[in-house]
Amino acid sequence: MAGKPHIYYEPGWHFVNFHANVEFKPSLYCDVWNLWEDSSAPRERRWQPGMLAIQRIIRDAEDRDIPVRALGAGWSLSRAAATTGCLLNTKPLNVIEVGMRPEHCEQVFLSAHGSHGPKQPADFLVFAQCGATIAELNQELEPRRLALTTSGASNGQTIAGAISTGTHGAAWKFGAIHDSVMGFHLISEGGQSHWIEPASRPVMTKSFCDILGAELVRDDRLFHAALVSFGSFGIIHAVVLRAEPLYLLEQHLVPRHYEDVVAALPDLEHIETKLQLVNVFGKVPDTAPYHFEIVLNPFAFEIKRGRVAEMDGAMGAYIRYMFKHAPPDLQKDSPTQNLIGFKRKTTSTSNEGFTILQRMDGLAPLFERTALSAIIGKLIIEGFLLPDDPDTHLGTVLTPGGTFAATGLAGRGLSCELGIAGNDVPKALDIILREFLAFPLGCMPSLRFVGGSGALLAPTFFRPYTCMIEFPASLSPRTLHAYHRIWIALEKNQIAFSFHWGQCQHWGSTPSAARQRLENVYGQRALDWLAARNKFLGPKARKTTFAGELLADCGLAE
C-alpha cells in the first residue's frame, strides 16, 4: 500500500552545473527517492515512492504558484534547468527493468519486431526511471547481451535529461537517444500521470499503464512534441526504450585532407570508399560506418587565393569512424590477439580534448586579450589527435558502453552545438573556418552526423541526417565572443541552424526575436510544438508550473 514518499528538502541551495557555466538559486531544492517517509524501500514497484514524490512536489508548486524543474545529471551547458522555483533532483530515481512481459505489449508491436535467438520482441524493451544514467543502463543491458542503439559521447547523463535536450551520438543512419524511446510516463498538471506514445506505433497496453497508474494517451503530435521539450510539458518520470542485441564498435581515427572530406560529404552512403576508411583487416568494407565523426584542427588552415585551404603539409580533418559488428563475428575472424584492446584515451579525442581545454580557463584571465589561448589550444589539439597506426589499422573494439564511457576529467567549460542540414555543411564549414582564422580560439570543432528525428524540436531534425557541429572550449568571454561571431556569420550567409538544447545558445536578443528565428528554422514543427503544448496544458501550467528560463528566452512561454 502506498505511503508518503521520502523527500529531502535542502534549504538555500546554490546550483552550479557540471561545467560550472550555469549558476542559479532555486527557492526550493529537493532530492526525491524511491523510499517511503520512514526510509524504507518497497519490495515491489520500487519506482512508486519516487513517482508519488514528483506528483506531490508538482501539486505543492501549483499551490505556491512557483515553477518546478527537474534536474538530471546537471551536464547541460544551457539554462534548461534554471528556475527561481522548485528544483527537483531526479538522480536518485534509477529503477531499470530490462524486458517486458508480452501481455503488457501491443500485438502490433510484437508482430512488427522479430525475435533474435531466444529473445522475443518484448525482451528488448527497457523501462528506465528518469534518473537512470546512460552508464547504469549500459551496466544493466550489456550483461544481458543487449545495448542501447546510440548514446552521447560519454555516459553520465540521466536518460530523461538526455532525451529532453536532444543528446545524440553519431549514428547517422539511426538518430539520437530520444529516437529509441517507445513511450514515456509524464507527470503533469495537477500531478496527473500520463503514458504517452504515438498512435501510429502503439507499444504498451493498458495493463502496463494500470500498474503505473497512468492514463494511456496515444497521440503522435503530443509524443513528438513532449519528447524533446526540456521539461515544458511536465516531468518525465520514466521511459520505455527499445534496446538491440549487443554489438561491438570497431573504432578508428585517421587523418584526411580537408578537401577530400568535403568532396566526399554529399555521399555518406559510400563514405568508406571515398575516404578509404579501412577496417582492422586493412580493407575497406562494403558497409558504411555506423558512427561517423569529423574533428577539425582549425590551426591547420590558411586563406589561399581567397579560399580556405590546408597549410602545406597539414592535415585539417581527422575522421573518427566506427563499424558495427555482432560480437562473435569479429572475434572469430580476428587477425590478432590484441583486437579487443584497452580503451585508449587517445581515441576519444573530442571527449578528452574537451576536458583538457576546459582546464585552460583558469589561465584565461591572463591572456584574455591575446591569442595565447589559441596557441595553447593548438598544442593540445595536435597532441591529442593521435591516429591509428597506419601499419596495423588497430583502433579499439569495444561494446557501446566501453566505447562511450566516462569523461576522464570534470571541469569548467563552454560548448555550443549547431545542427545543420547535410547539404549546407560544406558552405557552413567554410564560414566557420574563416571565423577561426580571423579570431583564433582554442577549440577543435567536432562534426557528428545524426539521423533525422521525428521529435518536433529535436536539434537533429534535418533529414535524412543532421550534422551537429560542436565547439568545446574554455569558459571565458573570448569563447562566447567567438561563438557569437560564428552564429552571426552563419545567419548572414543564410545557413539555417538549430541549437542543441543542452548547450550554449542564443536564439535572439529578445524573446520575440528568438521566437521568430526559431520559427524560421523549425517552420511548421515549432507551431505544432506550441499547439500540442497549448492543448495539453492549461494556462497556469504553461506560464508558471512548467515554464523556465530557457522556454521564456526562446519566446515559447505562451
Binding site: 532530492d31 527517492w33 524504507s40 552508464a135 583486437l339 591572463l366
Partner: protein
C-alpha cells in the same frame, strides 16, 4: 610584464579552490559484457565515473588545537544509502594558515554526495 604575469598566476593558483583534492570513491565495478578469450585483453575495463544520487554538499571545517576538537560531519539526506564519493581538499591559502599558526588552525574543505539505490531483480512489468 613577465613578473606581473607570474605574480597573477601565483595569486590565481593560491585562490583556486581544491587545488589539492583527494577523492574517496568505490572501485570500478564495470562488468565486462564480452569476456575476451584466453590471452586477450579485457576490452571493457573502461573507467566509469561516480554516478551519485545527489549533488555534492560542501563544508569547510577548521581543525583546531592540533586536532583535539575533532569535528565530525554527519551526512544527512541519503536515506539508508551510503555515500558515493567523499572529497577532501586543501589549497595554498589553507596551507599558509596552517603553517603560520603552527598547525593550531588547519582548514580543510570536505565534500560528499549520496549513492544511488542498487538495482533489484524484482520485475513489475
Amino acid at each position: 610584464m613577465n613578473l606581473l604575469l607570474a605574480l597573477a598566476a601565483l595569486i590565481s593558483a593560491a585562490l583556486s579552490p581544491g587545488c589539492a583534492t583527494v577523492r574517496v570513491v568505490k572501485a570500478d565495478v564495470w562488468t565486462p559484457a564480452i569476456k575476451p578469450p584466453h590471452q586477450w585483453q579485457d576490452g571493457n575495463g573502461a573507467y566509469t565515473a561516480p554516478s551519485p544520487a545527489t549533488s555534492m554538499v560542501k563544508k569547510t571545517v577548521f581543525v583546531l588545537f592540533w586536532g583535539f576538537n575533532q569535528e565530525n560531519i554527519f551526512a544527512t539526506g541519503c536515506g539508508d544509502n551510503g555515500l558515493e564519493e567523499v572529497r577532501i581538499s586543501t589549497n595554498v591559502g589553507f596551507a599558509l594558515i596552517t603553517v603560520v599558526t603552527f598547525g593550531f588552525i588547519q582548514p580543510l574543505t570536505v565534500q560528499w554526495n549520496c549513492a544511488k539505490q542498487p538495482q533489484s531483480k524484482v520485475k513489475d512489468f
